[in-house]
């Protein structure tokens, strides 16, 4: 017995209520989870979501984590609108970080002003190129981008592992797989003395504005969106699906690459194996929870950053396992997709009997 029937028109109300429903359900299940771990849910929520924001350091960390998440998600959302599922932003981020680090390492000692800008550009190019590979594979060989972007992420991880263990390993670093610490001219300037948040957040703010204008004003963005929602109509209108694939993957790779540069030239300060706590994957959720909308993504990026910070705080003060962050991320996406069903469908109402007879007769 089918439970759902299609709505005549997608519900705009549900479109924006769905993320709220998903957040509430995630918190409810989270409360049960805390309870089963013998932690008072109220105390846990306080430690997770309120305590970190009682200090200026907490706000600094929030901005520091939200920034790459938002930047990557803005790029991904562009592709998701066109149903190009780049799920390898993590790999594009790592390649961006690698390219930016290359600039920092080979210019080490040069007291030049251009080092940091060059790192950002290198990160953008690296991430963009890493996104261009699946775009080429898709347009020329019809290979699924979901699988190729993901496989390339594993390749990027191994490349990073080789670089920090052999050619770029810090000779004075007691054999740890990590590069030298970067000079000040290879790092973003701190915004406030003693806090880690830095000027890279302005890149994200600029990106949000650019994406907002691009999505709402440009014809290209319109073509991309039509290509995703009505491929046949897009084809009829002469919109190139190849162009959509290239734009989606290169732009999202570029954004992720810049985010990677921001990590090594920011809070991390060197090239290491653990430079990203899965930002590339979490940004996928951020894009969806933010309804693929440039401003919605800002809100969902802040929420996701809170989950990261809360997870860290819960580990320190409640001895909760750190993996709880991933669990919350997964639940949030699950509940969102479930709530999203009600954008296009509604619960089936019982049909009058007479009508039913007519159908079967």
């Amino acid at each position: 017995m089918p439970l759902l029937e299609p709505r005549a028109n997608p519900s705009r109300l549900m479109q924006w209520t769905a993320p709220l429903i998903a957040i509430v359900l995630t918190l409810l299940v989270g409360a049960l989870l805390f309870y089963s771990l013998h932690v008072s849910p109220l105390k846990a929520f306080y430690v997770f979501f309120i305590e970190p924001l009682e200090t200026s350091n907490g706000w600094s960390e929030l901005a520091l984590k939200a920034s790459p998440l938002i930047l990557i998600a803005e790029g991904l959302a562009l592709g998701f609108r066109a149903r190009i599922y780049n799920i390898g932003a993590e790999g594009q981020l790592l390649i961006g970080a690698i390219c930016a680090s290359g600039v920092a390492i080979y210019s080490n000692g040069a007291e030049a002003w251009w080092v940091l800008p060059a790192m950002v550009v290198a990160g953008a190019i690296g991430g963009g190129l890493w996104g261009a590979i699946p775009a080429w594979l898709k347009t020329h060989f019809n290979a699924e981008e979901t699988l190729t972007t993901l496989m390339l992420t594993y390749v990027a991880t191994l490349l990073l592992s080789w670089l920090v263990s052999v050619p770029w390993r810090d000779p004075g670093g007691s054999n740890f797989p990590q590069s030298i610490m970067f000079n000040d001219n290879a790092l973003f300037t701190l915004l406030f003395e003693g806090l880690r948040v830095n000027t890279s957040v302005f890149i994200t703010i600029a990106a949000v504005l650019i994406f907002w204008v691009f999505v709402s004003r440009s014809f290209t963005a319109f073509q991309i969106a039509v290509g995703g929602q009505a491929p046949a109509a897009a084809h009829y209108a002469g919109f190139s699906s190849r162009k959509t694939v290239w734009l989606s993957l290169v732009i999202s790779g570029l954004a992720a690459g810049i985010a990677g540069a921001g990590e090594v030239a920011g809070p991390v300060g060197q090239l290491t194996l653990s430079l990203s706590p899965g930002y590339g994957y979490a940004a996928i959720i951020v894009a969806w929870v933010g309804r693929l909308h440039p401003l919605g993504i800002v809100l969902s990026g802040i929420l996701m950053a809170m989950i990261y910070i809360g997870g860290d705080a819960g580990q320190v003060s409640l001895q909760l396992p750190s993996a709880i962050t991933g669990l919350f991320q997964g639940m949030l996406l699950f509940f969102l997709l479930g709530a999203d069903a009600f954008v296009n469908y509604r619960l089936k109402r019982r049909k009058p009997r007479s009508l039913h007879k007519k159908v079967t007769a």
Binding site: L137, F141, N142, L147, I284
Partner: protein
């Protein structure tokens, strides 16, 4: 070289076994029109459930496998509800399942990091295992490898020769027609998704209880995704899936042996080979659009809401 060949081939079968189980499960689900990108997550959940169950029963393999299968099937259930009952996007839901599985398995696994199991001894089949070369490779394996042969035989036979197989394929080719004839399309797809979950769970169980045998966070390392790619490579044919799985198993083992023999290539580059090979294989198959169209289950990835 020849004296190295036997251990390489023996290892190949072991390395391929998780891919065989996970790939066959995904193949059956896709045959009914459902693409589940959550294989990686289901494998991880199966791996930790099996490991936990085996640790608490002094390494009982059967308990581990059953726990893995049950956990994998259970993990596939939210994906089924989302995509089959609520008509959600299959790619997004599968991805959600993978992210969730990574988180959940790491969460549960934090208590099991320090444990280890003794593994499983191979069982030599009398007489057959004495055949030169082939004997030790095919007939001196652990019981799960034999089980993978049986599973392959069953899946291939059911899909090709039985009424059930016909119904499964019909649901994948044209759910509307199957529904009109009176087959419960949604229920059949639920069955296929749960089967895929159980198979992925067994694949994970093999990794954590037999192959490694340890629990390591994110220990599947992309094998679930490779299994999804193998189904495309196999053009939805079980025999070709086996071929693909052994090819990848062989590559994994060769890479380990190359490292052991001191080949002057950085180990990271060798480790990257299976992932690069997956891309190459996908490209080779996908560029032949006709071949793909001919074999692709027609309704793959499309939601079906009865009466919708």
């Amino acid at each position: 070289m020849i004296e190295n060949l036997t251990p390489i081939l023996v290892g190949t079968l072991g390395a391929a076994t998780p891919l065989v189980f996970a790939g066959l499960g995904e193949l059956v689900a896709e045959k009914t029109g459902v693409i589940n990108l959550g294989v990686e997550g289901m494998m991880l959940i199966g791996a930790i459930a099996a490991f936990a169950a085996a640790v608490s029963t002094d390494g009982n393999l059967a308990v581990g496998l059953i726990a893995g299968a049950l956990a994998g099937a259970l993990a596939s259930l939210p994906f089924g509800i989302l995509t089959l009952s609520l008509g959600a996007n299959q790619a997004a839901s599968g991805l959600a399942l993978t992210i969730f599985g990574l988180g959940l398995s790491a969460f549960i696994g934090q208590g099991f990091v320090s444990y280890s199991l003794s593994g499983v001894k191979p069982i030599a089949i009398p007489l057959l295992s004495k055949i030169p070369l082939l004997g030790p490779v095919l007939f001196n394996q652990d019981i799960v490898v034999y089980l993978s042969f049986v599973t392959f035989g069953l899946v291939a036979w059911v899909l090709a020769k039985t009424r059930l197989g016909l119904v499964l394929r019909a649901v994948g080719e044209s759910p509307e027609a199957a529904h009109a004839i009176g087959y419960p399309v949604i229920a059949i797809r639920y069955g296929a998704v749960l089967f895929g979950g159980a198979m992925a769970g067994i694949a994970g169980a093999y990794l954590s209880v037999v192959y490694t045998p340890l629990w390591v966070q994110n220990m599947t390392a992309g094998r679930g995704w490779i299994a999804v790619a193998l189904v495309v490579f196999a053009t939805w044919k079980p025999a070709r899936l086996m071929l693909g799985a052994y090819l990848f198993g062989g590559m994994t083992i060769l890479q380990l042996h190359a490292q052991g023999l001191g080949v002057a290539i950085p180990p990271q580059f060798l480790s990257a080979l299976p992932y690069i090979a997956t891309i190459v294989v996908l490209v080779l198959i996908s560029r032949d659009r006709k071949l793909l169209q001919l074999n692709l289950p027609a309704s793959l990835g499309k939601p079906f809401i009865a009466g919708g």
